[in-house]
């Protein structure tokens, strides 16, 4: 039962990205070609509202439903890891037109062949795990 809340939030997120056309391969192509403001509006307004929300959480020491303080674990900074890893993901994002969230939403929308993309992404994650210690971080 306690998982029902995550199913519900997931469904809201899925509907939002589907109705805002974020799951469209064409919207991602258009974004990387700077031919529309749409995707920048979606991500930009999410971040602006997100910054306000997180500032409010921090300034008011808001607690989660379990009474624990809400905190986002800070990520240790490095150039190599985020720049190289990010670039590799960017190449795949522009090719498949989908990041890990929209992939699942596309499957729900009946684009079954995206399951191959998801499986391949699982394989990519596995290979990263295997090579992790040999890569610059």
């Amino acid at each position: 039962m306690k998982f029902l809340r995550y199913l519900l939030i997931g469904a809201i997120f899925g509907i939002t990205l589907a109705k805002a056309e974020v799951i469209s391969w064409f919207r991602i192509y258009e974004m990387f070609k700077f031919q529309s403001f749409h995707m920048y509006g979606v991500i930009g307004s999410a971040v602006v509202v997100g910054i306000i929300v997180i500032q409010l959480i921090k300034r008011n020491n808001l607690k989660s439903i379990d009474g624990e303080p809400i905190n986002i674990p800070p990520k240790a900074f490095s150039w190599a890891r985020y720049l190289i890893g990010g670039t590799i993901f960017g190449l795949g994002w522009a090719m498949t037109g989908a990041c890990p969230g929209p992939m699942f939403i596309l499957v729900g929308n009946g684009v079954g062949v995206i399951l191959v993309v998801i499986l391949s992404a699982v394989l990519g994650t596995f290979v990263y795990g295997k090579l992790k210690d040999k890569l610059p971080h």
Partner: protein, 191 residues
């Protein structure tokens, strides 16, 4: 009620979607979790037994069940919008994009969710289909784990928390995306 349904059935503008995404992030934080989807790919590796041969996947995946349920919710959300919320696969992309993609051999750009001449089961056996779906998916999985997050984890959560690491990751997302879109896709699309 009908008016509400009719309004929901229309494509949603960015200024509705963006704040809703922030609300989803806040809900996850309020429930004591983090907002990010690529971690599920690692969890799936662990479920498939990768922990036996690799320490990176050797963790109790059951602690991540909530995130898998969240991903299942995404599938459900896609299904709901597909079946009940005025399913219109067409995206209102710009005329420039349409003209450009037509010149690259895509029929009816924006009329479907994905370019169906590339993303289909038969094309999986061609070099082009293999590159787009198998290599593309691989890059997404490898890259997100290397960078420690994807669009939701870095571009939304990380940037909202003003984390420098996430800014570098997002810059990387764009370096890769621009290289692919400007220098590689023009060749891949016409294969």
């Amino acid at each position: 009620m009908n008016n509400i349904l009719e309004w929901i059935s229309q494509p949603w503008p960015w200024y509705v979607a963006g704040p809703l995404i922030a609300l989803v992030m806040f809900s996850m934080l309020f429930f004591g979790k983090s907002f990010g989807l690529s971690a599920n790919l690692r969890t799936m590796c662990s479920i498939l037994g990768a922990g036996k041969s690799c320490e990176f996947f050797d963790f109790d995946w059951k602690t991540q069940t909530w995130n898998l349920v969240f991903a299942l919710g995404l599938v459900l959300g896609g299904l709901i919008s597909h079946l009940y919320l005025g399913y219109e696969p067409a995206a209102n992309i710009s005329e420039t994009t349409i003209t450009e993609l037509q010149a690259l051999g895509i029929n009816n750009p924006g009329e479907t969710l994905v370019p169906t001449e590339i993303f289909n089961w038969e094309n999986l056996l061609s070099v082009q289909g293999f590159i787009f779906m198998v290599v593309g998916g691989f890059l997404v999985g490898f890259g997100t784990r290397y960078a420690g997050g994807c669009t939701s984890g870095h571009a939304i959560s990380g940037l909202s928390d003003l984390q420098p690491a996430s800014l570098v990751a997002v810059i990387g997302f764009f370096i890769g995306g621009l290289i692919m879109t400007y220098f590689i896709l023009p060749y891949l699309l016409v294969m």
